[in-house]
C-alpha cells in the first residue's frame, strides 16, 4: 500500500498585540506537565517573568520554562532559569538554510537571530524544580505576541 500525504490549513485574523499571562504554581518538587495556554498566530516578541508573583514563595531559580508548539511538541522557549527578580526579554531563533541547517553567525552573516513565529495552540511546562524547594511556589510568565 502506498504512503499518503494529508494536509490541514488553519489561520486566524490577527488580533494585534496579544498577551497570555500564565500563573505557575509548583505543587510537586519535580515538574509540571505541559498544559495548553491558548493559541497565537504571529511573532513572539516578549517574555515577561515575575518569580515573586502570587501568594506563594518565590519561584525556584532552577526551574525551567518550556513553551512548545502543541501539535508537534517543537520547542519555542527553553528558558532554564527563573531569575530572583522580574525580568523580560525578546526571544529569537537562529535562522537556517532551506535545508534546515542553522546559519552560523559571522562577520558576513550577522543578524542570524530572528523573531520566532508561532501559529496555533501552545503548551507550557515546567521542569527541574529543585527537590529542596517547598511546594506552593508561585510565579508569573507572560508571553506577548504580535499578530497581524
Amino acid at each position: 500500500m502506498a504512503g499518503t500525504i494529508t494536509a490541514t490549513t488553519s489561520s486566524r485574523k490577527g488580533k494585534g498585540i496579544v498577551r497570555i499571562d500564565c500563573v505557575v504554581e509548583a505543587i510537586s518538587v519535580t515538574s509540571i506537565a505541559a498544559k495548553p495556554i491558548g493559541s497565537a498566530f504571529g511573532r513572539l516578541v516578549g517574555v515577561y517573568i515575575d518569580p515573586t508573583y502570587g501568594a506563594g514563595g518565590t519561584m525556584d531559580t532552577s526551574a525551567d520554562i518550556l513553551l512548545t508548539d502543541a501539535l508537534t511538541g517543537a520547542p519555542i522557549i527553553s528558558d532554564l532559569t527563573w531569575t530572583t527578580t522580574p525580568n523580560m526579554y525578546r526571544p529569537t531563533g537562529v535562522i537556517t538554510t532551506n535545508a534546515g541547517v542553522a546559519v552560523s553567525a559571522a562577520t558576513t552573516a550577522n543578524d542570524v537571530n530572528r523573531d520566532i513565529f508561532v501559529a496555533g495552540k501552545l503548551n507550557l511546562a515546567q521542569a527541574n524544580i529543585s527537590s529542596t524547594a517547598a511546594p506552593g511556589l508561585t510565579g508569573l510568565v507572560s508571553f506577548i505576541f504580535e499578530e497581524a
Binding site: T68, D69, L71, N98, G100
Partner: protein, 246 residues
C-alpha cells in the same frame, strides 16, 4: 509565426499568519507517497515545525514551477551517532557492518540508510532488517532485505556488498526524534539570478523565503509505515522584523 508571452496574474487576500499541517506516512513497503499539493501560501515562510521519526527527507516546492522551497529536510537527531563501516569479505563473517560504538539494535530491527560510501547495496532510503544471529553482536550486524529473509535458518538471505563501505549513516525505524521549529531562509541573488556571496560588504545574504501559490510536499522513501508531521507557517500579513530589513 512569432512567439508569444501569455501572462496570468494571481492575487490573494491576506489571511494573516497561516499554518498548514501535513501528515506524511510512508507505505507498507517504505515507499514514498506521491508528491501532493498541501495548500497555498502567499507571503513569507517563517516557520517549519517537524515531529516524528526521521523516516523521510521532506521537500517543499512551488507547485507551478517545481522550484524547491524546502530542500530535502530530514531531522538528524535519530541517525546513529557513531561510525559505521561495511566489510565485504575478509572477516569472520562476510558483508558485516561494524559500528564505532554499541549500535543498540535488536535482531530483526528495521533500519534505513541515509548515506553510504562504497557499495551498491544497501540502497538508500530503503528498509532493511538486522539479520538474526549471523554477524550479530553489540557492534556488528548483517542485513537482509526483508524480515523473512532476516530470520535465522534455511531461508535467511544476507544482503551482499559488492565493495567495502568506508562510511555510512542510518537510523532505526521509530527512533525518537526531537521536534524542531526553524525559520528557513535562502541566499539572495543579483538581477541575473546569481547568488550573492556573503562578504564584509554583503552581510545578511540569508533572507526569508517568499511563496506565492500552491505548495507541494514530496519525500524520499524510508522505514515502513512511518509517519511524521510537517507544519508550514506563512506570514501573509507581512508583520515583518522591524530591526532587520528583510
Amino acid at each position: 509565426m512569432a512567439g508569444s508571452i501569455t501572462p496570468l496574474k494571481i492575487e490573494h487576500r491576506s489571511r494573516g499568519v497561516v499554518r498548514t499541517d501535513v501528515t506524511i506516512t510512508t507505505g507498507t513497503d517504505g515507499s514514498a507517497p506521491a508528491e501532493t499539493v498541501v495548500g497555498v501560501g502567499f507571503g513569507r515562510l517563517v516557520g517549519v515545525a517537524v515531529k516524528g521519526p526521521a523516516s523521510v527527507a521532506i521537500t517543499v516546492k512551488d507547485k507551478k514551477t517545481g522550484a524547491t522551497v524546502l530542500n530535502a529536510y530530514r531531522p538528524t537527531t535519530a541517525v546513529f551517532g557513531n561510525t559505521t563501516t561495511g566489510d565485504e569479505t575478509g572477516g569472520a563473517v562476510d558483508d558485516l557492518f561494524t559500528t564505532g560504538a554499541a549500535h543498540g539494535l535488536t535482531e530483526l530491527d528495521e533500519i534505513v540508510f541515509t548515506s553510504q560510501t562504497g557499495s551498491t547495496l544497501p540502497a538508500l532510503n530503503t528498509p532493511y532488517y538486522v539479520a538474526e544471529t549471523t554477524g550479530f553482536a553489540a557492534t556488528t550486524f548483517c542485513l537482509a532485505a526483508s524480515a523473512a529473509e532476516a530470520a535465522a535458518g534455511a531461508g535467511q538471505v544476507i544482503v551482499e556488498l559488492d565493495a567495502d563501505i568506508s562510511a555510512a549513516t542510518w537510523y532505526k525505524k521509530g527512533a525518537a526524534v526531537t521536534p524542531v521549529l526553524f525559520r528557513p531562509t535562502t541566499v539572495i541573488a543579483d538581477n541575473a539570478g546569481t547568488a550573492v556571496s556573503a562578504a564584509d560588504t554583503a552581510p545578511n545574504v540569508n533572507r526569508d523565503i517568499y511563496v506565492g501559490g500552491k505548495l507541494s510536499v514530496s519525500t524520499t522513501g524510508g522505514a515502513t509505515s512511518s509517519a511524521c508531521t510537517l507544519s508550514l507557517i506563512v506570514d501573509e500579513e507581512g508583520i515583518g522584523d522591524l530591526a532587520v530589513t528583510v
